[in-house]
């Protein structure tokens, strides 16, 4: 029944394991592709990327068409809001990466591989954040298109370039923070639902704080918003390093 050629292979010395960065990339790419194959994630992200900007532009901004000062005040903050909505899918993807895979039993082979803790954790964070950033980018493009279509191309001139750019950068920085926190939670609970609920509860206040602060910091000028972006990026970096260093694969296994 079985052909013997594989069994005749000699027991060879193991190959040189790939670098952490390479393994991180492999894990992130696989996870991202799988997340993009998940119909629910894609449908939710498409809704946030294509429909929600349309609803906001038509329902909120169109009535302000003739009120230039109000429009000027909210246009930039909507860059952030519209970018962050699809980014919420990062929480779902991150929850699936550890807790979800534990439930399905397909995390153990990866944990049993020579991949380092840093590569596994980092790869899963990147895989959670990458698809959501793609959808955020799509949402921003849709936002600009809808603004042009419904309020005219001149409305785009009301977007303050510095603050708008800072808001756009704030989206991946905030998404990364959310993905790291959600991954940490996901690796420490037993089920996907628990991971998603706890992450949601932990991160909704973050969304509120970021949006509220951005709204306030606009008044203080571009530099204040840029400082906030830089601050959050530093927190991301510190959190990534600390998480990767403290995360242990046996903690994940002990929750099975």
């Amino acid at each position: 029944m079985l052909q013997p050629n594989v069994l005749e292979s000699p027991v060879v010395s193991p190959l040189r394991p790939p670098s952490d960065l390479r393994v991180m990339f492999l894990i992130a790419r696989r996870g991202s592709v799988e997340a993009l194959r998940d119909r629910m994630t894609v449908m939710m992200s498409l809704f946030f990327a294509l429909i929600l900007p349309l609803v906001l532009v038509v329902a909120v901004l169109l009535p302000l068409k003739n009120d230039q000062s109000s429009l000027e005040r909210v246009l930039a903050i909507y860059v952030l809001i519209i970018g962050l909505m699809p980014a919420s899918s990062a929480i779902g993807i991150a929850s699936g990466q550890f807790a979800g895979e534990k439930e399905q039993g397909n995390l153990t082979p990866l944990l049993a591989s020579p991949a380092s803790n840093l590569a596994i954790f980092g790869g899963k964070v990147v895989c959670a954040v990458a698809p959501s950033i793609i959808f955020s980018l799509a949402a921003e493009v849709c936002y600009l298109i809808y603004l042009t279509l419904f309020l005219g191309i001149d409305t785009l001139r009301l977007l303050p370039p510095g603050i708008s750019l800072a808001m756009i950068v704030l989206v991946p920085v905030t998404s990364l923070f959310a993905a790291i926190v959600a991954s940490l939670i996901s690796s420490r609970v037993r089920t996907f639902n628990t991971a998603q609920q706890v992450s949601g509860l932990a991160l909704i206040p973050l969304w509120a704080v970021v949006i509220g602060l951005s709204f306030k910091l606009q008044d203080w000028g571009t530099l204040a918003v840029v400082a906030m972006v830089a601050g959050l990026a530093l927190i991301d970096l510190a959190l990534t390093v600390a998480s990767a260093k403290t995360w242990r694969r046996e903690e994940v296994l002990s929750k099975q």
Binding site: M1, L2, Q3, P4, N5, V6, L7, E8, S9, P10, V11, V12, P14, L15, R16, P17, P18, R22, V23, L26, I27, R30, E34, R37, Q104, G105, N106, L107, T108, P109, L110, L111, A112, S113, P114, A115, S116, R249, E250, L253, S254
Partner: protein, 329 residues
């Protein structure tokens, strides 16, 4: 090769694995038996470099599981009871993903993946996503994944669980083949027949401790040297039981009725010598013998005695003879 000395693991106050000693040479199969929660999986996880022991040490494929767990993981293959596949991937993509993580690349990786797909007779399914695979096919994929990097040590946790008889036989043939290719194999199973057929050594774990350790034959013999002999007669012979009881190397002679026939039974440590003599005497007494049946203690009897779930069918002296071969040595 696997060497473990006083390996222990605690979770809070709960001792999952307690002072386990193992020595599995190259090309040998060790079967770990024990009830659910006995500590088999935790033992395997420690040996596979997935979990650090609380105390004790272990050397697997030449590397210390505490000091160099990544090197251990690079040299072992692990198959769990749940195949653990990324169901949305195709088989070649899945194997290539793991192959790359283990450091394979280019034509070597493609050749290896193609070889394993052919070996496991999965060629016609290689363009399908694995979500539709049967349990047997998934288990084959898990085995292929574990063999990709040609590990010298394999940990197989319930590798035939849920497989149909033919698929299970194919996996057992593979395990024997791997043993002949000098792989060291640790097999966790609840299938005592499988353990007996495949394993060179068996270790029974109960509440984290190895309570019996030895070859399958050794365990059975260590349990009791006696064979239970049952002789079925066509009709009663009044002097038969007395004739049997008169033999020096016979114990517990008994006579009973089963399905309307007389059944004589006795235990003896040397059936080869005793049985012909007794049968000769019975024939001499005019007995018409319908059948003679000899039973040695099965591994299941030994296992039941060790884990304390059932009373012994034959004899009562197992535990004292077996405890200590594994955990105390």
């Amino acid at each position: 090769m696997i060497e473990a000395t006083a390996l222990s693991r605690q979770f809070g106050n709960f001792v999952a694995v307690d002072n386990v000693n193992l020595n599995v040479p190259d090309g040998a199969i060790l079967a770990l038996l024990g009830p659910n929660g006995a500590g088999k999986t935790t033992t395997v996880r420690m040996l596979a470099g997935l979990m650090a022991p609380s105390s004790g040490s272990a050397n697997v494929a030449g590397y210390d599981v505490v000091r160099d767990p990544a090197a251990v993981r690079a040299r072992i293959g692990l198959v769990t009871d749940v195949p653990g596949l990324y169901a949305q991937m195709t088989l070649p993509d899945y194997l290539e993903f793991f192959g790359k993580i283990y450091g394979l690349s280019g034509p070597i990786l493609r050749q290896r993946v193609a070889g394993l797909i052919e070996f496991f007779e999965l060629s016609e399914h290689q363009h399908e996503r694995m979500v539709g695979f049967s349990k047997g096919m998934k288990q084959k994929v898990a085995l292929a994944r574990a063999l990709l990097h040609e590990p010298s040590v394999l940990f197989l946790d319930e590798p035939t669980s849920g497989l149909d008889p033919l698929a299970a036989r194919a996996v057992r043939e593979l395990i024997v083949g791997l043993k002949h290719a000098r792989r060291t194999i640790v097999l966790c199973t609840h299938d005592l027949g499988e353990a007996e057929r495949l394993a060179d050594e068996i270790a029974i774990i109960q509440r984290g401790r190895i309570v019996a350790h030895g070859s399958p034959a050794g365990l059975r013999l260590g349990a009791t040297p006696d064979t239970l002999v049952r002789i079925e007669l066509a009709q009663p012979v009044p002097a038969a039981l007395a004739a049997i009881a008169g033999h020096a190397r016979v114990s517990a002679p008994d006579e009973s009725l089963a399905s309307g026939r007389t059944v004589l039974s006795f235990r003896t440590p040397c059936p080869d010598a005793v049985n012909p003599e007794i049968i000769g005497e019975l024939v001499g007494l005019g007995a018409r013998i319908v059948s003679v049946n000899c039973e040695t203690r099965s591994l299941e009897d030994v296992y039941s005695a060790m884990v304390g779930e059932q009373p012994l069918a034959i004899g009562s002296d197992i535990p004292g003879m077996l405890i200590g071969k594994g955990s105390e040595n």
